[in-house]
Symmetry: C3
Amino acid sequence: MGYIGKRSRILGRVMDDAVVLGPSFIDNDTFIDGDVTLGYPTRSKLKEIIIKSYDELDNISNGVFIGKKCIIRRGSIIYENSQLEDEVELGHNVLVRSGSRIGRGTRIGSGAQIDGDVLIGKDVSIQSLAYIPAKSRIGNNVFIGPLVCVTNDRYPPSRKLVGVIIEDEAVIGAGSILLPGIRIGKGAVVAAGSIVTSDVEDNSIVLGSPARLHATRAEYEHKKRKYESG
Amino acid sequence: MGYIGKRSRILGRVMDDAVVLGPSFIDNDTFIDGDVTLGYPTRSKLKEIIIKSYDELDNISNGVFIGKKCIIRRGSIIYENSQLEDEVELGHNVLVRSGSRIGRGTRIGSGAQIDGDVLIGKDVSIQSLAYIPAKSRIGNNVFIGPLVCVTNDRYPPSRKLVGVIIEDEAVIGAGSILLPGIRIGKGAVVAAGSIVTSDVEDNSIVLGSPARLHATRAEYEHKKRKYESG
Amino acid sequence: MGYIGKRSRILGRVMDDAVVLGPSFIDNDTFIDGDVTLGYPTRSKLKEIIIKSYDELDNISNGVFIGKKCIIRRGSIIYENSQLEDEVELGHNVLVRSGSRIGRGTRIGSGAQIDGDVLIGKDVSIQSLAYIPAKSRIGNNVFIGPLVCVTNDRYPPSRKLVGVIIEDEAVIGAGSILLPGIRIGKGAVVAAGSIVTSDVEDNSIVLGSPARLHATRAEYEHKKRKYESG
């Protein structure tokens, strides 16, 4: 069953069984797949009023903004007050919570979760089942592998969340865990399965648990060129 | 497409496109979102009979019990014979398998999976994409971080499952793995990314792979107070 | 809302609200649950043409082949050009991408993802939330635990993907990470939470990060027998 809220403005294409809530804007050449939900209201609103139908969800939603040439696949849910710039692409069952902003050309893999108040730059690749909590800050051209777990609470469960900062061009290997409040430097590489407990310098490669300096990005790129041509 | 079984008894609010199977009971002030499935039948039943429609699924389901003031969000699936006490809250795409019981005020994050025959206490927080297998026992006020993996088979794939016991007030950090049959003591803390291979004493903090004693809960609480006020 | 494409040939049972695209074939005694999508088109096709309805998705899909006595549960999505042999069973929200082949009797847990061009043998068990990327090759009777992360890119993001090979009877413990291009030998066991960076010999057990030789499969089976009878 689909639902298109009356306040929405849709220039792109929306499948009949998508749900579009609030004053959502969907720009040209964007494809919203079936079983997608846009503009889902935040927890505090859901708890405040009596919801019986999509009309009520629609009434309390602030909507989302989705740019041109985006693809949002079946099962994905985007909360209100989120903004996706042009050419953003989501896999299946991606969750983007309220107040997130995702830059142009970024792609997010199936099952990944982007919690509220997350900023993600342009041309970022976030792979399947990665978890990015509230207050994370991710630069441009970052790569985040599958099942990466970013965190934001040093002494859970606490009242204070501190986001991780991931600078431009950084690479976070599959299954790594980033502890709260650290900064992954520009061009830094975190090897797969590492647990990163402190800041990582620009253009350095870290490895292990806790992650230690292992090599430089220049060495990584050298090996990568050999690998790609081999 | 929604479906409400004739044997269900609904006092709360259920969106039109939810699926409610069997003699499910939904108490006052509970919100069942669209695209939620309640009372899904177990594997053995599915394999036994010819299913062609929701009527057949409805006929073979024992239903679920859901207390007052719960919120069950889009995409979540709760199997038959499960019981959610009052004020339980599920994120999106949460899976709760057959015979689980979830205590009052507990919240389960999006994409988390609670397998069958799991007991979870009151005011527990289970974060996104955590996996809790069959026979796990979780006390009250426990915190389980994102992508935590609890296990139950020492020599997979075997015929014998041994649940993990997590006592009251314990904290399991993000991405940790708990091996089968261990006990996490009351108030114990497992640091993020640890692999816990043996019992953890009450009020101790363990860290690493395999996890070793690192500090006490009192020290944790001291640091937490400084962190929160900092 | 369901959709059954005109080119599909359905001998089994398909719930009304499933989506079946392209010339999909569904054999006898197979159950396709509601909210399942079969024959989803690949990314390149989605980007090529203007999609406004299931008819267009149907037109561009090559369909899937699903054998006898399979069970595909709610929320699962299978891309075009995939083939599931007889008695394959998928949990909820499983994603199988284009060009994958899954052998007879294999079971895949909820939330697991099988990327494109993956070959999986017979009677394999893949547990919840495991991630199996493109080009992986998995033999018969393999066990892959929950939240296991297989990888395929040595220097991400690169232009060259190298699949992991997992031979018959291997066991991959919960939450393990397998680095690209390695071979897990016949009957080998990877302990839970290990990070495997190089080939593992037949019938050996490896443990840790990086994973090192720990014992033999014969010792594992000996301990397993004691455990199961204990």
